[in-house]
């Protein structure tokens, strides 16, 4: 493992809950690891599995999706759709040799700034322990291909 290895996490946060929770963590000056790069989407239901694959293909060490709690979706049930895709995608990623810890879906409401901190810190800690992503070499071109399609 490189000496100063810092995992890079691409985070898709929904506009109404988790993005706001991250804003709240900011206004409350809660400190957490600087490893996430947040991409705002209107709803966790907008997260296309291709986004996740693209992120891994382009070198992300982890992908985090943040949505509203079940029953709290701003768009009624987009987060359930996200959950269904999450399970499906998780299985695919496992087959590709990507460890479970690298892909997470978390429900974080707009009031849970503290949860953003704990989730990010926890994920960073786990990814640091895992080290840089190694992938089934046979799969890598395939992943590229899926992402590119």
């Amino acid at each position: 493992m490189p000496e100063n290895y810092e995992p890079k996490i691409v985070a898709f946060f929904c506009n109404w809950c988790t993005y706001l929770a991250a804003d709240l963590a900011g206004t409350s000056r809660m400190k957490y690891a600087a490893n996430t790069r947040v991409i705002r989407v209107m709803c966790s239901g907008r997260v296309d599995p291709q986004f996740v694959l693209e992120a891994f293909a382009k070198g992300a060490d982890g992908v985090l999706i943040g949505g509203c709690h079940p029953g709290d979706c701003h768009y009624q049930e987009g987060n359930y759709k996200a959950l269904r895709r999450y399970y499906l995608l998780k299985r695919t990623l496992r087959e590709m040799g990507i460890e479970e810890e690298r892909f997470r879906l978390e429900w974080i409401s707009a009031a849970e700034g503290d949860r953003v901190r704990t989730v990010v810190n926890d994920m960073v800690q786990k990814l640091r322990a895992l080290g840089p992503r190694k992938m089934n070499p046979a799969i890598e071109p395939e992943l590229e291909e899926v992402a590119a399609s």
Partner: protein, 664 residues
């Protein structure tokens, strides 16, 4: 890409936000870095971009350098996206060519390592630069706002909001769960710190609600369904039966007098169980609507069907009593909603060490409000449950507040109402009164003066949280008393204080069904259950759902003046929307590229708003632009990639993903 979008000229602006950002993120380095990125024409860092000169700087650059894309790295887009879009428009650029990067809330305020934070800011700016290349000119969507307003909750907050709106000429529906409006305030005797009689200031407002031509009052009713969005809400209200025909009842109350129960016999909810009522009753004399209702659990006619129905006889030819009344459903359309559902008083049984429910002479503060009230169950005579008059009273502050075991927050009003009750009890009984407090908090107008007044009235103030209320006696002076054991923290010693009466100053907490209610209306809630405001400072009565506003204690503990101020503010926010006549919506709707659609219909069930449809003629999907709310779920679901979303195009997001990960 240049072919599709012409020659792209990007301006990147990195804000210092004073030292808010600059202290952690090296803004100059970020701007310099951005300057080297492809397509970037101008790159600057600036002290306060949201200031007038800051905005002018951007406008000038657009004009001078023919910029056609703007990236602003500053605070959250929820705060200033509107500002910078407007600035760009001022220089003739379409607002949707602007993109914001959040390097304050998501970066400088949450990170400590300058190097890592700067690196992160650079990554995010790079992603944004790549993203805006794919931005397109979009038209804002305008939807009309229905001028009617729904106010949920008829306490002082709901009453004030409804009257304000009605006086401005708007039609208001006021829905209240209880049989009367008035809320908790109607139960209070006096109000702090001025000691005005609560009823004297509240009941005229209650009557105005009933009399106002613009207000439709539905008490004893529940909101059961809410659909739609800002400007166009469709609401279903269930009106529970009172078994009294509202149109026929004249409010003479002779039916109550005539009830077969000669004496009131059943627990009176309004008087906190300290008084009794009949099966047909009116909660309190000034109740609005001024008409009785029948409690089917205690009414003989409902229980056995064999009552002499003396109430019906008394009503005579008005025929207002209707035992067969059923729940009625009303459907209304409104443009805006004000939530004023109030609070629940903390249940003192959850602090068993204070003996509420075990020792009869332990009271909650709300019970004492009724006990000292001239229109209360004892006509203002303070008599204990065992018939004695108290000679010593202990008032325990912070019951169910500031406590990890119950509620963590300060309930904000307990200090002041405890002082008020101390004053009133002293006035009514001349008893010796002990206040037990952790901290005295009097940060309102006239509050500290009131505290001083109580000090001079000879009320004891003991700084310490009472550990227990028991009836065990160490010596004869403690026999037949309730004994409070407490550390007098200012003396630094433990004291035992025997009293005749204990008052528990219970805190404020959200209603048990607060989570269900806000789910019904689809807006946010804090983890403790209070409704969540859009911004704690700058949007205190807005919610994250456009067109829904909050007022009063449902948003957090507060006193009457603050509640009324919030109710006024919520009404003003609603008025601003109504009088504008329309709302501008983000043009982030989804759309179908028909040529690419395979007609698989995967997308149709995805949409919770039925905006996605299948055109049987063309065998292609289509999307009603007016109905689409822009969640993008159908976009992610489309197997052929033929559904796109404005502002969140696949291209844009892919560029962002690549942008944050590519090391340039």
């Amino acid at each position: 890409m240049s072919e599709r979008n012409g020659i792209v000229r990007i301006g990147v602006y990195v804000c210092h936000c004073g030292t808010n950002i600059a202290a952690i993120v090296d803004c100059k380095a970020v701007a310099e870095y951005a300057g080297g990125l492809y397509h970037v024409t101008v790159s600057r860092d600036y002290k306060y971009l949201c200031s007038d000169p800051g905005q002018e700087l951007i406008r000038q650059d657009i004009r001078d350098h023919k910029l056609n894309r703007i990236v602003v790295a500053s605070c959250s887009p929820h705060l200033h996206e509107h500002t910078f879009r407007t600035a760009a428009e001022g220089a003739g650029l379409n607002a949707f060519y602007v993109h914001m990067v959040n390097i304050r809330e998501h970066n400088s305020w949450v990170h400590e390592n300058r190097e890592a934070a700067t690196k992160k800011a650079q990554d995010m700016v790079r992603a944004a630069v790549r993203r805006v290349v794919f931005h397109q000119s979009l038209e804002k969507v305008r939807v009309p706002v229905h001028p009617d307003v729904l106010v949920v909750g008829g306490g002082i907050a709901g009453i004030h909001a409804a009257l304000t709106l009605a006086n401005a000429g708007k039609k208001v529906y006021l829905v209240e769960r209880q049989p009367t409006i008035g809320g908790h305030m109607a139960m209070f005797d006096k109000t702090f710190p001025t000691l005005d009689c609560a009823a004297c200031i509240l009941t005229p407002k209650m009557s105005s609600v009933k009399a106002h031509p613009n207000i439709t009052l539905w008490a004893h009713s529940d909101v059961t369904k809410v659909e739609g969005y800002v400007g166009n809400y469709k609401v279903e209200v269930a009106r529970r039966p009172r078994y009294i025909n509202e149109d026929l009842c004249s409010g003479c109350l002779e039916c109550i007098e005539a009830c077969v129960y000669k004496e009131p016999k059943f627990i009176d909810e309004f008087n906190m169980g300290l008084g009794k009522r009949k099966p047909i009753y009116i909660p309190f004399p000034q109740a609005v609507p001024q008409m009785p209702l029948i409690d089917i659990d205690t009414c003989i006619q409902f229980k056995s069907g064999k009552c002499k129905k003396t109430c019906v006889q008394a009503c005579g030819d008005r025929h207002a009593i209707d035992f067969s009344q059923k729940e009625e459903i009303r459907n209304i359309e409104v443009g805006t909603i004000i939530m004023a559902t109030g609070f629940k008083a903390f249940d003192a049984r959850r602090t068993p060490y204070y003996g509420y429910g075990t020792y009869p002479n332990v009271y909650t503060s709300l019970e004492v409000e009724r006990l000292v009230n001239a229109s209360g169950p004892t006509a203002g005579d303070v008599v204990l449950r065992d018939g004695r008059k108290p000679k010593t009273v202990g008032i325990i502050h912070c019951v169910g507040s500031r406590d990890e075991g119950t509620n963590r927050w300060c309930s904000r009003v307990c200090c002041m109402y405890s002082l008020k009750l101390a004053h009133l009890l002293k006035e009514h009984t001349d008893a010796e009164i002990f206040n037990f407090y952790i901290d005295i908090r009097t940060p309102g107008k006239g509050f500290e003066e009131f505290y001083q007044r109580l000090l001079s009235e000879g009320v004891h103030f003991i700084r310490g949280r009472v550990a227990e209320v028991t009836d065990w006696a160490l010596d004869p002076t403690e026999e037949n008393k309730l004994v409070l054991r407490v550390e007098d923290t200012l003396l630094g010693t433990v004291r035992r204080i025997p009293v005749d009466m204990v008052v528990l100053s219970v805190g404020i907490e959200p209603h048990e069904d607060a989570q269900d209610v806000r789910r019904l209306f689809n807006f946010g809630c804090g983890s403790e259950g209070f409704f969540l405001e859009r911004h704690p400072k700058l949007a205190p009565v807005s919610t994250f759902t456009d067109g829904i506003f909050v007022a009063g204690c449902c948003q957090g503990p507060k006193d009457i003046p603050d509640t009324v101020a919030q109710a006024g503010a919520a009404a003003a926010e609603a008025l601003a929307l109504i009088d504008t006549g329309f709302v501008e919506q983000e043009p982030n709707t989804a759309y179908v590229i028909e040529d690419e659609c395979s007609g698989c219909k995967t997308c149709v069930p995805m949409c919770p708003y039925s905006a996605v449809y299948f055109n049987a003629d063309t065998k292609r999907a289509g999307i009603h632009q007016v109905l689409c709310k822009g969640c993008g779920t159908c976009v992610a679901a489309c197997p052929s990639g033929s559904i796109k979303q404005h502002l969140f195009e696949d291209d844009q997001i892919f560029e962002e993903i690549e942008g944050v990960l590519t090391y340039a």
